[in-house]
Symmetry: D2
Subunit: 283 residues, 4 copies
Amino acid sequence: MTEEERATFRIPWPGESVAQPGDWVQLAWMHHPRPQFVRLEPGARLHTHYGIVAHDELIGKPWGTVGYTHKGEAFYLLRPSLEDVLRHTPRRTQIIFPKDIGFILLKLSIGPGVRVIEAGTGSGALTTALAFYVGETGRVYSYERREEMQALARRNLERLGLAQRVTFYLHDIAQGFFEREVDALFLDVPTPEDYVAQAREALRPGGHFGALVPTTNQVSRLLAALQAHGFGMVDVVEILLRYYKPVPERLRPTDRMVAHTGYLIFARPVMGDQPTTPPREEP
Amino acid sequence: MTEEERATFRIPWPGESVAQPGDWVQLAWMHHPRPQFVRLEPGARLHTHYGIVAHDELIGKPWGTVGYTHKGEAFYLLRPSLEDVLRHTPRRTQIIFPKDIGFILLKLSIGPGVRVIEAGTGSGALTTALAFYVGETGRVYSYERREEMQALARRNLERLGLAQRVTFYLHDIAQGFFEREVDALFLDVPTPEDYVAQAREALRPGGHFGALVPTTNQVSRLLAALQAHGFGMVDVVEILLRYYKPVPERLRPTDRMVAHTGYLIFARPVMGDQPTTPPREEP
Amino acid sequence: MTEEERATFRIPWPGESVAQPGDWVQLAWMHHPRPQFVRLEPGARLHTHYGIVAHDELIGKPWGTVGYTHKGEAFYLLRPSLEDVLRHTPRRTQIIFPKDIGFILLKLSIGPGVRVIEAGTGSGALTTALAFYVGETGRVYSYERREEMQALARRNLERLGLAQRVTFYLHDIAQGFFEREVDALFLDVPTPEDYVAQAREALRPGGHFGALVPTTNQVSRLLAALQAHGFGMVDVVEILLRYYKPVPERLRPTDRMVAHTGYLIFARPVMGDQPTTPPREEP
Amino acid sequence: MTEEERATFRIPWPGESVAQPGDWVQLAWMHHPRPQFVRLEPGARLHTHYGIVAHDELIGKPWGTVGYTHKGEAFYLLRPSLEDVLRHTPRRTQIIFPKDIGFILLKLSIGPGVRVIEAGTGSGALTTALAFYVGETGRVYSYERREEMQALARRNLERLGLAQRVTFYLHDIAQGFFEREVDALFLDVPTPEDYVAQAREALRPGGHFGALVPTTNQVSRLLAALQAHGFGMVDVVEILLRYYKPVPERLRPTDRMVAHTGYLIFARPVMGDQPTTPPREEP
């Protein structure tokens, strides 16, 4: 990470003990569920539902400090985790959830130096995670058709100091992607089956394809398109995350949970004439 | 990544189109579930249940190529995904599953430059993911008491070119960790509640604590210990992963699934006198 | 079923095609989620959020008819299913859910002629199902300590014509149950472990014991008590019910679901000195 | 229940304390998972994997007694629960699981006096539960096309003394059902969408329709057919059952579980011109 990048890249930056100007911080309320996120600026004031906080009272304070609003509401001063950042991405669309993003990263082998395409950009939650993990030497190519969505995502990435790792396109992917030989490609669009040929063209052989769709009908259509275009090693999964109430003497799941975000489909472009999907091994 | 590292670090290395000597490759059988992993060495031969393959027939071939054993069994030549590598970690203990590892990475904000402690090392699956994601500038400190387990994990990491990012300790963590001000710390030990004080000492304020335990009794004991030692922002979750049979016209989940690997507990050391856990917000 | 019973017992009474005076009916709104339940009385009027309906307009109409309120809101006239009745039991406490009740019936072998104890009565949802299924020749003995809860449950059962199958006790079960040699016994109380000895005394050898508790700590305590009092064949289960949006071309689960109602524990009193629990067979 | 019925109907018959000739009993092994089921006959001998047991040693013994084979393997002598009976139905096809059957009973309001159609008969697990719960005054009409399946189901029902409550048909339901105005109807066939018109014809208005299908594609097709044929109040659900290891001090789910049996679809024939499905209320 260059000095310049370090100046702008402010999330989960390791190694510092106190909050500094420019840091992206989280006020975790002691008695209210939804945390507040803010970038510290000397002289600024944060207005919240629970009272006002002067940024200057936070700057220089150790992480984990307990602070109070002018109304006396208590909060912890924390650097947000990547999961916090993703879960609270300012959004105008349904975002991909951290439970899904974590698994996507491993299945697509997203890591330093990786070149990855995603479409659509949406509100930029997955874009954020991809940009964070491809590092300085990798690159995210993010396609979107709706100008206002792209603007929101760009703003979200800029705020976190990650926008310089992303190429944003306003483009209809039916006309194909601009890159070739990318390591991975992820589709979060309503009709991914329409872009499988374009995805295959952009991916390197043996690369990693992924997609998320909410309905079973979309899964079926995408599976058929993947078969038709020489993809193998197909996996379809869904991930359920259940929270527990963290009370030692009365441990139990929460009353309600998210029942569904989407189905994840993974596949790899292979070279053979008749690609088949090996029988799924139980992990 | 230095040139030297590049010479040894062979998993999901982006940017190359053909298999090279030293690459860690996956033979994905077309008609059998469990893939074969091997590091390519000129002149070597791979003996499998399904026949013999000469490494020289693979070296120089594009990823995604279909190959055959001397018995005619077909396979795809692929670079394993990180998920493949983790799921098939050679093991003598239960490993942490990719579904859990992906979420751990986000909750602990593991990324380039992060310094993270884990105990115990076990077979090294989580160690692998941590080492991969902290990059060249981060560091993994991995504690283990059983010499043979440490040896296995070290071998697993060396094989993947990641061992140089890890400090392996043969040490009883009841005596404390050697590091201070680490960004994150993960416990995968039978009695994590016994090491919460030591964890708190090693973590920076506001850092990220995580643990995995298989039983509800362990969760309760750990929650009590976290409360007693000034941890806040506690989350307890379990993750269920369900695979579907990838058949477009007969889409359905597999017959059986993993019902349980463990409960994940996350918390953050805070500075206040009476740390509390904010009411859980539904995501 | 006697003529007299037939006169009062009005839920899911088979064999009649049109709504009759005294019938317990369900108005299922076409455009609103929560149905309305009412017992038909000549001359009466039903006031709902969506308008007024004269009972006389419903009496004599075939089941499944579409009706309208005076404001023009459309509804189906239906006999409620047993599941509807249970799910919408008027309540002052958390009721046991149909997903759990259905399984309880099979595990406790509730059927015609069975004598079954339950404690506590609560709002009477399980009482309703038990009374329905033990028939004229069986009997439900329902214990409760809170007078107002018992009154509510009794009202709920009377409304459905099932109260005459139930003996309601206002009694502290710590002093034991009044019956002996009952076929089945179900505990839905905060500390079931305190009443295992009493349950054993009331149950016939080899009878069916069941309990529902919300927390894992309660499960552990109850399991220990069951072991100590000579129960074997112990099963602990949880049941998750996931609804799908019934749209053929966009099939998917609902966004949210109930994550937890409780853990179900089943066991059987056995005669041996050292009762053990056989290894659980996967079904 | 008549005297004659009582003479043959031997499962979960309440009120008797000792095993009698003709009883259907369960030997629950202390150290082995799969129980043994047998009907007691004076003079007979039971040969099992774990040794031989003379029936005469069981007749007259209290339920819950510990017995031993000639090899010294210990077992409990128990009356099977209805859940045991259903789960261990001798089968040549996939049976419907108790977790699903319990919910089906409540949704279809199966109870004394109900007339219910099912197709296909299969191995007879659901038939058993239906026959048990409709009682002496109800009736099950069970359709099947495969003669050998019908023979197996009939044998299973006869063994339990329930066959006299069932009318078995060897018939292709494409030609319609023989009954009219039935209270409930359940389809467990590969293409239920082909028989929705026939089902509507057989059901009374406002009656209860149910079906189980394993794939999402079948769900979609059935939903479309239900809409086309004037069914409303449609529910689609799946039920997940998770067992826990019943160890008080190490409570945790089993390692593996059944991931899928099938999707349950419920609906009701309504009279209106444009039947719609009300928005699903969260229970």
